[in-house]
C-alpha cells in the first residue's frame, strides 16, 4: 500500500534534488567554469537551438567542455547510478539478503567479462555489431548470476554466508578472466584497470544510448513486479500460497536486474557498492514497500553517483580518480557496518 505522504515526499524532494544535482554537477569539474556560463551554454544548446549570439564571450573550449564532456558524463552517471540501485533493490528483495548487490553476487563481474570478450572479438575477428557490448555483457551477467545462485543455494534458501562466498569466488575468477582477456587483446594495464575500477571518463553522448533503453525497459518490468517483490519477502512458500508463481517471478526479475546491471557495466566498468548501500539508505525512509522503494532508489542512486563522480574528477584535479574507488571509500565502511549488525536486526 503506497502511502500518499510517501509519494508526495518523492515528488517534492527527490525529483527536484536530482535536477539540481545534474545542474550543479555540470557546473563543477577540473576546469573552473563560471556557473553562469554553464547555464548559458546549456540553455543555448537546448532551448535556443545553437544560436551563436547567445554564447558570445564564452571561449569555444568551454562550450565543448560543458556540452560535449560534462553534461553527457553527468547524465550517464545518473543513468548508471539508477541502474545499479534498481538492480540492488531487486537482488536484495529476491534473495532476501541485505548484502546482495550486483557487485557482491558476481553479476557485475560477469557483465564486465562479457563486455571484454566482446572487445576481444572485435579486436581479433573484426566483429562489430551494434549493441554488441551490452548484449555480451548481459549474457555474461546472467551466466554469472546463475552460477553464483546455484552454488550458494542450500535447499530452498540462499543464506547470507554462502551467497557472499560464492559471489567472491566467482568475482575473483572473473576478474582474472577479464585481465587475461585484456592482455590477449593487446591492451595495456590501463584497459584492465578501467573494467575493474569503473570510470565515467572519456564517455560521450553516444554512450547514453547503451543504457537508456535497458534502464527504461528494465525499470518498468521491475516496477510492475513490485507487489510480487513485497510478497516474496514473506518467504517463498508464503508467496506461493498467495498465488505468486515464485519460480517464474524469480527468473524474470533476476534476468531483468542482470540486464540493467549489464548495460551499466558495459559503459562504465565495475562500479561497486552503489547497489548495496542505496537500497538500505532509502529503505530507512521509504519503508520496505517496493512500489516506493524502487523508484526512490532509482533517483537516489542517480544522485549518489553524480556526486561521487564530481568528487572523482575534482578531488585530485587536474588528475582524475576512477569513480569506483570513490564509491568503494564510501561504501566499504557501510558494508562493514551492515556485517556487524546482528542478523535479526537486518532481517526483512
Amino acid at each position: 500500500m503506497m502511502k500518499k505522504s510517501k509519494r508526495r515526499l518523492f515528488y517534492i524532494f527527490l525529483l527536484p534534488a536530482l535536477v539540481v544535482s545534474v545542474v550543479l554537477a555540470t557546473a563543477m569539474g577540473a576546469v573552473a567554469v563560471p556557473p553562469l556560463d554553464t547555464v548559458r551554454i546549456v540553455l543555448a544548446r537546448t532551448v535556443f537551438s545553437r544560436d551563436p549570439g547567445r554564447l558570445a564571450g564564452i571561449p569555444r573550449g568551454t562550450v565543448s567542455i560543458i556540452w560535449n564532456l560534462r553534461l553527457p558524463r553527468v547524465l550517464l552517471g545518473a543513468l548508471v547510478g539508477s541502474s545499479l540501485a534498481l538492480a540492488g533493490v531487486t537482488f536484495q528483495g529476491l534473495l532476501r539478503n541485505p548484502l546482495a548487490d550486483p557487485f557482491t553476487i558476481g553479476v557485475s563481474s560477469g557483465a564486465a567479462a562479457g563486455a571484454t570478450l566482446a572487445l576481444l572479438l572485435r579486436q581479433l575477428v573484426g566483429l562489430n555489431l551494434p549493441h554488441m557490448i551490452p548484449l555480451f555483457a548481459f549474457v555474461g551477467a546472467v551466466l554469472a548470476m546463475f552460477f553464483v545462485y546455484n552454488l550458494a543455494k542450500i535447499g530452498a534458501t540462499v543464506p547470507v554466508v554462502t551467497l557472499l562466498l560464492s559471489g567472491v569466488v566467482v568475482s575473483s575468477f572473473l576478474s582474472a578472466v577479464i585481465s587475461m582477456t585484456m592482455v590477449l587483446a593487446g591492451q595495456n594495464m590501463q584497459g584492465i584497470f578501467f573494467w575493474l575500477s569503473g570510470g565515467l571518463t572519456m564517455r560521450s553522448w553516444q554512450h547514453l544510448w547503451f543504457v537508456i533503453p535497458y534502464l527504461v525497459l528494465g525499470g518498468l518490468v521491475l516496477y510492475s513486479f513490485a507487489r510480487e517483490l513485497n510478497i516474496m519477502l514473506l518467504g517463498e512458500e508464503a508467496a506461493h500460497n498467495l498465488g505468486v508463481s515464485v519460480e517464474r517471478t524469480k527468473k524474470i526479475l533476476l534476468v531483468t536486474a542482470s540486464l540493467v546491471t549489464a548495460s551499466a557495466v558495459s559503459v562504465s566498468g565495475m562500479i561497486g557498492f552503489v547497489g548495496l548501500i542505496i537500497p538500505h539508505a532509502v529503505r530507512i525512509v521509504s519503508g520496505p514497500d517496493h512500489r516506493v522503494l524502487l523508484p526512490a532508489s532509482a533517483v537516489v542512486g542517480a544522485i549518489f553517483l553524480i556526486w561521487a563522480d564530481v568528487v572523482a574528477r575534482t578531488v585530485m584535479a587536474p588528475q582524475e580518480v576512477p569513480v569506483g574507488i570513490i564509491t568503494a571509500f564510501v561504501g566499504a565502511p557501510f558494508f562493514i557496518y551492515l556485517l556487524r549488525k546482528k542478523k535479526r536486526d537486518i532481517r526483512f
Binding site: G29, L69, P72, T201, M202, P318
Partner: protein, 305 residues
C-alpha cells in the same frame, strides 16, 4: 640444570661464532698481482657497489633499452638471456627469454649462468638479487631517465665490459647526431614552439607530465609538452583539462589516431580540426637507448608535418 652452566655454554658458543665470523671476513687467498682492469669496482644506478672479478662474457638483460645498448656496443654475442619485450635488434628475438620486466624468472636466469644481469630499477626484487648474488651472478641496475644519462650509462657499461673504445665511438656518434638534430630543430625556424599532447591510452586520459624521458624527448624535438605543469610522472588527467589546454598536436604512442579523430566529443579540439593527430612508434620513444635519435626523428616528423 644449574644456571651458571647454561650461561657458560651460551657464552662459549657466542665466542666461537664471533671468531668464526671474524675468520671468514678475511680473505684467505694470497694477494694477487693486479693486471688489466679487473677486478673492477662498479657503482650502479641504485648506488650499490659491486666487484666485477673478470671480464663478463655472459649477460642477461631485463629491459629492451639495455639490450639495445649491449648490442650497439658489440656485445651481442655475449647476451644469453633477454626479457619478453626485447625485440631489437632482430637477433635479440632468437635469444632465450627469461620473462617480463615485472616478474623475471629467477630460476631461468640462474640456469643461464650469466656473469652480469643488467636491469632497470625496481625490476628484480631484493630477495631475488640476494639469490642471484649467492650464485655468483652480479646484478647491476641501469636506469637512464634523460638523454644525457643514456650516454653516461653507455660509457659505464662499456667500461664494465672492457669495450671502452666501442663505448667512446657510440657516444661520440650519438653526440654528433644530437647536435645535428638540434640544429635542424632550430633551423625549422619556429618562433613559438607548438604544444603537443602525448596520449598514452584511450580508456583513461593518460599522458606524461614533467620529469620523464618522453617529456624530455618531446621538448628536444621542438615542441612544448602540453601537460607540462600538470604534475610529475605519468598522469591520468580529467578529460576537460585536455580541452582547456587545447594542444596544437596530439601524439599517440599506440596506433590510436584513427579513433582519436573519430571521437565525436573531441571534434572541437584544434588538433583534431587541423588533422594534427599522429601515431609514433612506441618502441622508439619509450626506450632510453642508442636509438634515441630515431625516437627524436619520430617526434620531429609528427611535430613538423
Amino acid at each position: 640444570m644449574k644456571k651458571s652452566v647454561v650461561i657458560l655454554v651460551l657464552a662459549s658458543l657466542l665466542l666461537v661464532l664471533a671468531a668464526g665470523c671474524a675468520g671468514v671476513s678475511k680473505s684467505d687467498a694470497p694477494p694477487q698481482e693486479v693486471t688489466g682492469p679487473y677486478p673492477m669496482i662498479v657503482v650502479d644506478d641504485d648506488g650499490r657497489t659491486v666487484v666485477i672479478d673478470t671480464e663478463p662474457m655472459r649477460f642477461v638483460s631485463l629491459a629492451p633499452n639495455l639490450t639495445e645498448m649491449l648490442f650497439a656496443l658489440g656485445l651481442g654475442d655475449r647476451v644469453v638471456g633477454v626479457s619478453d619485450f626485447c625485440n631489437y635488434p632482430l637477433q635479440a628475438l632468437e635469444i632465450e627469454k627469461i620473462g617480463n620486466a615485472f616478474t623475471p624468472n629467477v630460476e631461468k636466469m640462474i640456469a643461464l649462468a650469466p656473469d652480469v644481469v643488467v636491469s632497470p630499477r625496481g625490476s628484480v626484487l631484493q630477495e631475488a638479487v640476494a639469490l642471484l648474488e649467492q650464485n655468483g651472478i652480479n646484478v647491476l641496475v641501469y636506469d637512464p631517465k634523460t638523454i644525457d644519462e643514456i650516454e653516461d650509462v653507455i660509457t659505464r657499461i662499456a667500461a664494465m665490459a672492457n669495450v671502452d673504445v666501442n663505448g667512446k665511438n657510440l657516444v661520440s656518434g650519438l653526440q654528433m647526431q644530437r647536435k645535428e638534430f638540434a640544429a635542424r630543430v632550430a633551423a625549422a625556424g619556429q618562433v613559438s614552439r607548438p604544444s603537443a599532447f602525448i596520449l598514452l591510452d584511450l580508456d583513461y586520459l593518460f599522458t606524461v607530465g614533467d620529469g620523464e624521458y618522453l617529456s624530455e624527448l618531446i621538448e628536444a624535438a621542438g615542441a612544448v609538452n602540453a601537460a607540462s605543469g600538470q604534475g610529475v610522472g605519468y598522469l591520468m588527467l580529467s578529460e576537460e583539462v585536455l580541452f582547456e589546454l587545447d594542444p596544437d598536436i596530439i601524439i599517440c604512442t599506440f596506433s590510436m589516431s584513427g579513433q582519436v579523430l573519430a571521437k565525436p566529443a573531441w571534434k572541437e579540439l584544434s588538433a583534431v580540426k587541423n588533422g594534427r593527430v599522429f601515431d609514433v612508434e612506441d618502441d622508439l620513444v619509450s626506450r632510453p637507448g642508442p636509438r634515441v635519435i630515431l625516437g627524436l626523428e619520430e617526434l620531429y616528423r609528427a611535430i613538423h608535418q
